[in-house]
Symmetry: C3
Subunit: 254 residues, 3 copies
């Protein structure tokens, strides 16, 4: 029998022991759980980066995976924690819209309210340890989601920015995130980018390419990346670095 | 039956393969061991940061966890390695005081001296790989601690800084560590902070708060954090960044 | 029975979810696989850093470990992926020479070509997810390497820089990599360094030492490190930082 798989997505970073402590709590209550670090370096409290990461990553995880998403500008407020479920996966996340960008949007939700599933004393600053981790362990150990709390509907929703139509058939998207290599993921889906030419701050990046090798080393290009979105890159270099490009910046297509 | 759990706490960082190699050695000698990264980003040779991390984290790990602590300014000297045990956990660490801040101070110690438990050749610069990892694997595989070496008493001890009493009932603590979010953990325990007002470099941070949401976004505050100590923070911002605050800086309470 | 062990070595870094997604794919196809992060912070597309890391780390892993090495300046080109095998381990890596520095050079190779072992659609930018991970999972699940593709010989080879002999018996090596502590690993093997005196940019670092404690805190020294190569260090400090030393810089021995 397979062991229950829990994937962790947080903005805790790895320079502190926050992620490690969450694992200690989970394994204290469910020793057979299997833990995978999806990512802990979401920029602090950056809901859009977390939502994008989850959208791009979740489809590649086994059926039955529980994603524990601890990214929340509102930690310590009364913002509730939700359990959610779509066809293949389930999720624990604050009710802040971070699950909104999943392609298979969850339709079943519960509020995580059961006080007996919290560590005592329950801090107001480290809900990952005191609320998320014990709830995840209980679920991984086989508890029914019904013990978490009542069925609810989510309150918050995060809009996935869609490209804006400009005159003359032009299209304007924006950068959603940049990665370690300096690639900039935009809000333009593959289908909308097809056959167009791409511009960034007035500079032509050429047509949408199939691969980095379409340009010379050090040259900028636009291509449909592994994210399913149009990405701006520099072959063997950093687009974000070379163009000082950051989330929110616009890219135009014609 | 549960697999033996080993938690790793080092200053190796993650840009090199030091931590990965330790795992290779442990799994070579104890394939059933279960490994958890507590933290590898302790600042190089920072005993106080490691001692604080261990104090805050250990209580959240399952009974029987073996903590392998590789942080030592004296690597390559004749400083001995200790095995230690408290009620719920055991530890491997250099005899440099890094275990002194544990709330449940270990009372049973052994020197790790058995040459047959070292990798050969034994380097003088990577004891994590050549001494700690094989000893951890032997213990996880069921060896008696008695084979490590003789029972001893630790030589080194690290004092946990206690707040200093000032005239007029004022109290002075110091920053022990800062985290990724720019929160500054001070040496003032929750009980001593209760009901007081907090100052940093003469600037009033107000009374001790219950949660970040007690102030507006971008404002500084003092609250009792998940560490059990008074922490200085900026809501949705970085106290360490905004105040250039660092370990050793003083906070005053009145 | 032991679970199949897969060690991951990439330049993906940990700020994005690339490494996490590879794990999701592997566990989707081989739930019993055991995953170890060897290192994900190889500098982007730095083949020499990856080759050195693998050379130094592989011997410490259990027999039967499969190393998945995803570091390739040529991603998205037609560069093929290889499976390789030496006495104790097997490897998946691009045919770019990254396996050339292994002390036990692999002698058996196959091209990873079987289209049924790729994720569909297969991106041209994330081969770690779409080609390496499913191939690794298939092997870990017990598939014969023969199903990957035909037996081949590797095309690319990376030369391990050897020290150059200078007049008067002097020797010139170069820095291959620096680590988190600022230690600089050179290309001079232990045997060639024995009994010599070391110079860096004309500055004498003294004879090859046995341990850091041979010099005072803050002083530079040369010693044979855990890598088996001559390393340049500063006791309780950073050689790379203090001397602005970087890969490619020369060290001389007399």
């Amino acid at each position: 029998m397979n062991r229950p798989l829990i994937a962790l997505l947080t903005d805790f970073g790895l320079r502190d022991s926050y992620a490690g402590v969450m694992k200690g709590v989970i394994l204290s209550h469910c020793p057979q759980a299997r833990l995978v670090d999806l990512c802990h370096e979401i920029p602090p409290q950056d809901l859009r980066a977390a939502a994008l990461c989850l959208r791009q990553s979740a489809p590649y995880f086994p059926e039955g995976t529980l994603f524990v998403v601890v990214v929340d500008p509102g930690v310590g407020t009364r913002r509730r924690v939700l359990w959610a479920k779509n066809k293949r996966h389930s999720f624990l996340a604050s009710d802040n819209g971070v699950l909104s960008w999943l392609e298979d949007r969850p339709r079943i939700y519960r509020a995580v309210e059961n006080p007996s599933l919290r560590l005592k004393p329950t801090s107001r600053t480290f809900h990952g340890r005191d609320i998320f981790a014990p709830a995840a362990a209980a679920l991984a150990a086989g508890a029914s989601p019904a013990i978490l709390g009542p069925a609810v509907s989510p309150r918050a929703r995060l809009e996935l920015p869609t490209p804006r139509k400009l005159p003359h058939g032009r299209l304007r998207g924006q950068i959603l995130a940049t990665d370690r290599f300096g690639n900039a993921v935009t809000s333009v889906p593959a289908a909308a980018a097809k056959g167009r030419r791409v511009f960034f701050r007035g500079q032509a990046l050429g047509p949408v390419r199939g691969t980095y090798s379409a340009v010379r080393s050090g040259e900028a290009l636009a291509l449909v990346g592994s994210s399913g979105f149009l990405e701006l890159s520099v072959r063997e270099g950093s687009f974000a670095g070379q163009f000082s490009a950051a989330p929110g910046d616009y890219a135009e297509l014609e």
